[in-house]
Structure formats: structure tokens, C-alpha cells
Amino acid sequence: MEDVEEALRAALLLALAGDKAAYVAFLTRSGAHLRAYFRRRLVTFPNDVEDLVQETLLAVHNRRHTFEPAARLLPWLYAIARYKLVDLLRAQSPRQAVEIPLDDDGIGELIPADASPAESQRDLAKLLDTLPDRYRLPIVLVKLEGRSVAEAARATGMSEPAVKVGIHRGLKKLALLASTRR
């Protein structure tokens, strides 16, 4: 428990200082814990688990400025997870009272984490298709196919800075789209 808290906190603090590798590690490990958390609560909707993991990671990303460096990380992370879970359950049964104990922060059942993601049901790739080419192509080529920026620039006829800007803006747009979808 304390180990998880410390490791995740350290990784996020590094990430917030600009360390991309630490951020990937932080999100991956957080994702595993979130997966376990949602799986236990969505026994009747197992297909929604991976969607919720992704939505929560997206919310963590978009709201990372609300993390107080001096505060504990896990209560923050699970508060976001719970908020997303309540949203989902409300959307699925708007007339039914949704009962999740207020103090259910999930920290007690952190372990075992679940590191084996299923494919998300709602395909973010479909969202990608809604982006204009100047954003979509750089993301597909560089992020999904793993080509270099220079290769992507040659393949699309865009300049290298334009490819980088396209990736950056496109990812932002994508994050926005995905977070407003539900």
C-alpha cells in the first residue's frame, strides 16, 4: 500500500517536471490498479471496464493540475475513478438510485492490480477518424505506426514542425473528444 503510494507519487512528480517515461510508467501502473478497481465494481458490465480505465486516465491527464504535490496520490486517483464510475452508472440507470458508499475510495483493495487490459469497446480509433488530416495523419504515422517525424513529414508532404504541431494539437483534440463523448 505505502509502496504503491510512494512509487506512483514519485512517478507523477517526475512526470509533472517533464519526464515522459515516468509518465508512461505512472499511467500504466495506475491503469492496472484502476482496472482492478472497476472490475470488482462492474461485475455486471464487464465490457465497460476498459472504457472506464481509459476515461479515468484521460481525466487524470486533463486534471493533473489539481494534484497537490504535498498531498497523497491514491485518494486523489481513486476519487477521480469513483467520480467516473458514478457518471457511468448514472448514465446507465438514470432512474435508479446509484448506491456507492461515500467512503469507498478503493484503496483497501489496491492489490492485486490487473495489468492485462482488454481492448476498449468504444474505439478511440473511430474518434481519430473524425480529426482533419493534418492532425490525423501525423498521429497515425508517428504514434500508431511508430515512424519517425522525418518519415511522417516525407510521407505526408508536411514539414517536420507541422507534423509535430499536428501530433500535439491532434492529441489534445482527441483527448477533448474522448472526454466529452459519453
Binding site: 508512461v24 500504466t28 484521460l58 481525466a59 489539481t66
Partner: protein, 214 residues
């Protein structure tokens, strides 16, 4: 999309975010709300005519202090409520104690006063305008605080909305105090508090709809 791909995507953009974003955004909201309320007050109501003399009367400062204490406690609560998992904390108990104390002092004032003067002590001459003008002057801050909260991440929405409303009420009442001629504690304890309660309730009611973020 696989979650790993999403994570790789998210790690691409700039990761660094402004430090102390919560405090700064709330402060900006207060500054904007207070400035707008002050402008409206100066333009439509004007400062009280005897302000220079009133500045020497302790009651003037006490009347200003009551809403400022409410606003300060509301900020303390809001700074916590603006973050995922944040609770109002001790500000609620402190606020309740403060209001109880204020009420006790007001009751004492009324009881001590001669029977013939009691009604005037409480009602003054501007009770109803006071309530509604305080509530109206709080609106700019309420809107600004809601805008700030939408960029943050409250998870107890009604509590965050109520705290934003109490903050707005405190700002509105503190601005109104520069116009208001009433100089009794019972008046402040009833009508100022009612005026601040309106935005607080409004904030709590509107929160579920307007503070929801995704």
C-alpha cells in the same frame, strides 16, 4: 484503441502544468467578482454619504468583518473541494461556530435594548433591499468561481457549489457594506446572513448541472 496506445498518446504533449493552479484560479475568480461587484455598487448605489465619519465607528468594521470571515472560511473549504476527493474540512464547523456566536451577540444586543427599540435594531430601514442587493452583488463572484471550478476537478459537487456561493455571498456583502447605512449587529446577523445564504443555496442547487466535468 488499446490503453497502452492511449497512454503513449497522453505522454506526448507537454506534461508540465502551472503549479498552484487551484489557488491561483480561485483568487482570480474572487478578484474579478469583487471588482465587478464594486463597480456596480459604485455606479448604481454609491458609497454611503457619511463614509468618512463611519470609518471611525467600530460597528462599520464589524459589519465588514462578518462577510470577510465567511468569505475566508469559504475559500479554505473551496481550495480543498476543488480537488478530487477533497472535503470541506474544518471550515464548516468553524463557520457554524462563527454564525452561532454572531447570533448569540445579536440576541444579547436585542435583549439588552429597551423594548421600544428592539424592532428597529433588527429591522433597520433597509432590510429587504439589503438581502437582495447582497445576493445580486454576489452573482459576479458566483459565476467567476463556477468558471474556475469547472477548470478544476471537484468531486463533491453540491458542497463545492455551496462553498462557491458562500464565498460569493461574502464578497457581495463585503462590497455592500460600503453603501449600507445600517449600524446594528442584529441587522447584520439577520439580513446580511440571509443575503449570503441565497447565493450559497443557489450554488449548491446549480452545482450538479454546472460543475459537472468530464
Amino acid at each position: 484503441m488499446k490503453t497502452d496506445a492511449l497512454i503513449a498518446m497522453l505522454a506526448q504533449g507537454p506534461l508540465v502544468v502551472p503549479r498552484r493552479a487551484v489557488g491561483h484560479r480561485l483568487l482570480a475568480a474572487i478578484a474579478i467578482g469583487a471588482a465587478l461587484a464594486a463597480l456596480v455598487m459604485l455606479a448604481t448605489l454609491h458609497l454611503r454619504a457619511d463614509l468618512a465619519a463611519a470609518l471611525h465607528v467600530p460597528m462599520f468594521w464589524l459589519k465588514l468583518a462578518v462577510p470577510l470571515v465567511v468569505a475566508a472560511l469559504a475559500i479554505a473549504a473551496l481550495r480543498r473541494l476543488a480537488r478530487p476527493g477533497g472535503r470541506a474540512g474544518s471550515a464548516v464547523a468553524l463557520g457554524a461556530t462563527f454564525l452561532a456566536l454572531l447570533a448569540a451577540c445579536a440576541v444579547a444586543d436585542v435583549v439588552i435594548a429597551p423594548a421600544a427599540e428592539r424592532a428597529a435594531l433588527v429591522l433597520g430601514k433597509t432590510a429587504l433591499p439589503c438581502v437582495f442587493i447582497v445576493a445580486a452583488l454576489s452573482l459576479p463572484t458566483l459565476v467567476a468561481a463556477f468558471v474556475a471550478l469547472r477548470s478544476l476537478a471537484p468531486t463533491r459537487l453540491a458542497a463545492a457549489g455551496a462553498a462557491a456561493g458562500a464565498l460569493a455571498g461574502g464578497v457581495g456583502a463585503a462590497v455592500y457594506a460600503w453603501h449600507c447605512n445600517e449600524m446594528t449587529l442584529p441587522f447584520v446577523a439577520v439580513w446580511y446572513v440571509l443575503g449570503m445564504a441565497i447565493p450559497a443555496i443557489l450554488g449548491a442547487v446549480l452545482a450538479r448541472r454546472w460543475l459537472h466535468w468530464s
